[in-house]
Subunit: 150 residues, 2 copies
DNA sequence: GCACAATAGATGCAAACGCATTTAATGCTT
DNA sequence: AAGCATTAAATGCGTTTGCATCTATTGTGC
């Protein structure tokens, strides 16, 4: 790898850091002010909501599985779940099959708070992220219905 | 903005979160293990080194200016500078013109530590970031010498 | 020149994190 | 079945962070 490549990667990293800082700071402020939720809290609630297929019953998640999805350590997620439980947004359930494990499931209240916060979340993302996606940069794998086919 | 666009932005945000978590975790581990430096510490040292044009004298930075560049709060940077100073990697200097201000400048030792850590830093970036830049995604503005001309 | 808003940086404080350890349950080997 | 490595989650602990506040200096209006 030559110097040009190295510089390129460094620039990409700085761009990523800048974008991450901008968006997560804005998200933290908005979600916290308007809904009393942290970014990680919202992210966890979202996974729990998404985990529900079509059946009425709330999906059950293991702590470690959630930790991987939201990029937190196991200990951090354990405490985060504790916070959410204290607020009544999720419930811990015994796992019969493996009694070491704990199932985490969202509550009615949790679903409500998540639904309330989602528009704010999406608005912040659109405002701070969309401008930088215009050239197809920093984007996820394109779908068949690309927003900017150009 | 329709649902497709919204989903697209959400996917982009998750991609960004995943990339950030992966790279910053790896960086934190490697820099800490091999050089006793945190990611933020390295980032600050790097700005200080880069700030030196060609003249021999170390460049002087204001605390708030550095804070903006590395995406930290003023208080966090103040303490970070204190840590670096305790380790002898930077020095605080009185600002004669405005005696509220403080100039931060890198020391010989700081330059050395940064130079030692840079290869590690670049290696981690290349290993974890390059694979995802292959399609020009998540990249800074392209240079005339693209790293992967196919 | 003197009071008062504004600014730079330091510091008290509480929240959230990761690492290491602990506790409890499982599974594997003999 | 007993013993021991393994795994899931909780917890102790130290570090880093941001917000609010404090102190010191600068600038501004009267």
């Amino acid at each position: 790898m030559n110097d040009v490549d190295t510089d390129f990667v460094v620039l990409a990293w700085r761009e990523l850091l800048a974008r991450h800082a901008e968006v997560s700071c804005a998200l933290e402020r908005e979600l916290s002010d308007k809904h009393g939720l942290g970014v990680s809290e919202f992210e966890v609630l979202e996974r729990l909501v998404e985990g529900e297929p079509s059946c009425a019953e709330p999906a059950k998640f293991r702590v470690q599985g959630l930790a991987d999805q939201v990029h937190l350590s196991q200990s951090a997620l354990s405490r985060l779940i504790a916070r959410l439980e204290r607020e009544g947004l999720v419930a811990r359930a015994m796992c019969e099959a493996d009694r070491r494990g704990v199932f985490v499931q969202i509550t009615e209240e949790g679903r409500r708070r998540h639904a309330e916060a989602t528009p704010t979340h999406r608005a912040v993302l659109s405002a701070h992220l969309s401008p930088h996606l215009a050239n197809g940069r920093c984007a996820p794998r394109a779908t068949d219905e690309s927003p900017h086919p150009a």
